[in-house]
């Protein structure tokens, strides 16, 4: 690197008097022998000298300011500013606005609205509750269930009595001629079926309104119990005895009467 390039960036500092003595000496001796660098430094000096224009103008402006009174003015301004109440933050302004007395009716209204709203909601929900239950298919009142049970008992008893009637009629009309045609097995099987049905009916017949039906059903049950125990060798005498029992007790008639009564007393 030659001296011109080396010293190029120092020219401005040289003109500003911001250079160490050794480097300054080197620059001065270089400028003596280098017209090109000297010309550039002269041009830069003109620019820096032009700053004197600014400086001169600046001095005029400075002279126009009253520096004696300015410190007091600035001090008053600063202490006046600092004495003023601090500007409130958004949070503080909001809190102040919300806690004004004029807001009390607003809050009262809001609280009242909340209470009324809660009450209305409570009432609406409470009113809807029964309808929800009604819509539930599994719900039925105890009375209704009783009535349904009674009706079912009535129908099942009627069915039992009719089947019993048919069996007794068959027995009453059968003769010794029918013996050996499988009559005994048939009667015994049907009697067992009806006994089983009677077992199922027993708890339901406990109802006081079914008392009459219960009496006749019990009598029939006894008869069927005997019939179910009849073996294949049913003698003509035994058949006669059973037919006699049916007639003596007037079972068929009683059954008809109870049936009629039950049919009429539809629940």
């Amino acid at each position: 690197m030659n001296t011109c390039q080396d010293l190029q960036k120092d020219r401005a500092a040289f003109l500003a008097g911001e250079m160490g003595p050794e480097r300054r000496e080197r620059m001065a001796s270089h400028l003596k022998g280098c017209p090109r660098c000297r010309e550039e430094v002269d041009e830069m000096r003109k620019v820096i000298d032009a700053a004197g224009l600014v400086k001169g103008e600046m001095e005029k402006v400075i002279a126009s300011v009253d520096w004696e009174t300015l410190p007091a003015k600035v001090t008053d301004y600063v202490f006046g500013k600092m004495a003023r109440p601090r500007r409130l933050t958004i949070g503080e302004r909001l809190r102040r606005r919300l806690t004004r007395p004029v807001m009390i009716p607003v809050y009262a209204g809001v609280v009242l609205g909340l209470i009324l709203g809660s009450l209305a909601t409570y009432l609406i929900l409470n009113r809807r509750a029964p309808s929800t239950v009604t819509e539930n298919r599994f719900f039925a009142s105890p009375e209704f269930i009783d009535r349904v049970e009674l009706e079912m008992t009535r129908r099942q008893t009627l069915d039992y009595l009719q089947k019993s009637q048919y069996l007794l009629l068959d027995l009453a009309q059968s003769s010794s001629r029918d013996k050996g045609r499988g009559m005994e097995q048939l009667v015994s099987g049907r009697a067992k079926e009806l006994l089983a049905k009677k077992k199922y009916l027993n708890p339901q017949l406990g109802n006081s309104r079914m008392a009459k039906a219960k009496v006749i059903c019990d009598q029939i049950e006894l008869l069927f119990l005997e019939l179910s125990q009849i073996s294949d060798d049913l003698t003509g005498a035994e058949m006669k005895r059973i037919q006699g029992m049916i007639e003596d007790r007037r079972l068929l008639l009683k059954i008809s009467l109870v049936e009629k009564e039950l049919e009429e007393s539809e629940v």
Binding site: E43, A51, L53, V54, E59, Y77
Partner: protein, 193 residues
């Protein structure tokens, strides 16, 4: 230029402590000592006396508010001028740039075209205007370094403290500023380049 009433460094630190306690007299003493330096800094940026005085007020207000942040052992003048520089830049950005454009719509290039090449024909008023426009055209830090060195007459090391940059950077910025001004002012000053 009568710059300031000189105050010893220890005295300045004591005064700053007093300012922290809200001492009015101490504050006024500091204002009296540094008001011209702060004014020159503001005026060199804004070139308007009233606005520069506003910046002086705002700078000392900021000093009062930030006095607690001043670390003893630091250069007080550098710290204060840094505040003044920032306040001036803020002021300029807020309301000065637009106003200047409105007041002087002619650009530097237009002035250069219209100007006579010989310096003798340029009136001092026009020269003043052209010179300030050239300074305005400089990049922010170049302008600051040039003004602080040649108008405010601060040394490179003082500028380095004020601007919080190294002396080498100050030197480099100063060189670039002078070169740019030389280029832009050549039609007015009989410079050949």
């Amino acid at each position: 230029m009568d710059r300031e009433r000189s105050i010893r460094r220890e005295d300045i630190h004591a005064l700053v402590r007093e300012i922290q306690n809200g001492n009015r007299e101490a504050f006024m003493t500091i204002v009296g000592a540094y008001q011209q330096r702060v004014f020159v800094m503001a005026y060199s940026m804004l070139r308007n006396k009233e606005d520069a005085l506003d910046v002086v007020q705002e700078t000392f207000l900021r000093l009062f508010q930030k006095a607690g942040q001043f670390k003893e052992g630091c250069n007080f003048q550098g710290w204060l001028l840094r505040i003044a520089k920032n306040m001036s830049v803020d002021y300029y950005r807020k309301n000065y740039r637009k106003r200047r454009e409105f007041e002087s719509p002619k650009s530097l290039d237009e002035l250069q075209v219209a100007a006579e090449p010989a310096p003798a024909s340029s009136s001092s008023g026009e020269m003043w205007d052209v010179f300030f426009r050239s300074i305005d055209k400089l990049a922010g830090r170049q302008r600051m370094v040039f003004v602080l060195r040649h108008v405010d007459e601060l040394q490179f090391n003082e500028i380095s403290e004020t601007m919080n940059i190294s002396v080498g950077t100050v030197k480099s910025l100063h060189f670039k500023a002078v070169q740019n001004l030389r280029k832009w002012l050549s039609p007015y000053m009989g410079i050949t380049s």
